[in-house]
Symmetry: C2
Subunit: 147 residues, 2 copies
DNA sequence: AGTGCTATTGCAAAATGTTGCAATAAACCC
DNA sequence: GGGTTTATTGCAACATTTTGCAATAGCACT
């Protein structure tokens, strides 16, 4: 797993400057990725702004929004959008292509890679979609929320 | 395909009143569904508010938002969320469970139903997801946007 | 360390969403 | 039509997100 320093290199490589706001934002993102699996409500715009207002009160909201967008473009994080709202995931060294998300509790989990590959192949046959850069999201009700 | 009148019946059946705003909103939704396939940028909150401000200038934003939520609950429309924004689809008489969406141009198309059923079965085996109410969204690049 | 270039920020104003509450008007009965 | 009930609306205040622009501060070069 990549570390803070590696990510700073990514910024530099993309002609982006290292600012206090970016350091802290990166650290926040890295810290949120403590478990192998993906948990609910990890990184949201709300949690980020709450954190930043606490740690770096000087930072303006607009900078946070702009940096989140920038990190998305660099594929440091990935945005998962649901009707109930969006959240972000650290995916720099392990880009996730296949999740399943519970419509009820919002829990997002990484899907089975073998299944993903099979589906990807089937998709390629049937639809006009290129294989590269495909990602799949399943929405359903998890065993806990059942019904 | 259901018509305006049928939808009004749905509202009544759910103890909801017929107001001018709802009439026009329903009509807007029905009008946007002129083709069999699903096209880009059809119904967004922006397009709705623009339309309503033109046709019924008196209607408040909050009423529009609340009615959109209400129509979602009644499964008259379905919300598709993407990092680039959300849009809505009329799905009352043809609820769509399976799409593919181009990450580049945003074009959303209805997926192949046979494939959907196969995937659904595989999912049920592998994940802890209940079969009911499953929906699947594929993100990728369409043949037009390529790569 | 000082200088120059320019990416980034803060700021302010606007756009877009959300919420509680009192006023309004659909719908039903007579 | 007039009266009653209550779902719906408009309003106002607030929260969130977006945008243009001038000021700031990273960074490269000396």
């Amino acid at each position: 797993m990549k570390k803070h320093k590696d990510l700073l290199q990514v910024l530099k490589a993309n002609n982006m400057r290292i600012t206090p706001a970016r350091r802290f934002l990166l650290q926040f993102i890295l810290d949120s990725k403590k478990h192998a699996g993906i948990k609910t409500g990890q990184i949201t715009l709300k949690s980020i702004t709450r954190f930043m207002e606490k740690i770096l009160p000087g930072v303006n909201r607009s900078s946070i929004y702009r940096n989140i967008e920038a990190f998305k473009k660099l594929d440091i994080i990935q945005e998962i959008s649901l009707p109930s709202g969006s959240f972000f995931q650290y995916v720099f060294d392990c880009k996730v292509h296949h999740f399943y998300i519970c419509k009820s509790c919002g829990k997002a989990s990484v899907g089975n890679e073998k299944l993903f590959n099979k589906i990807e192949a089937a998709l390629k046959d049937i639809h006009g979609f290129a294989k590269a850069n495909l990602s799949i999201v399943f929405y359903g009700y998890c065993s806990k929320c059942g019904h």
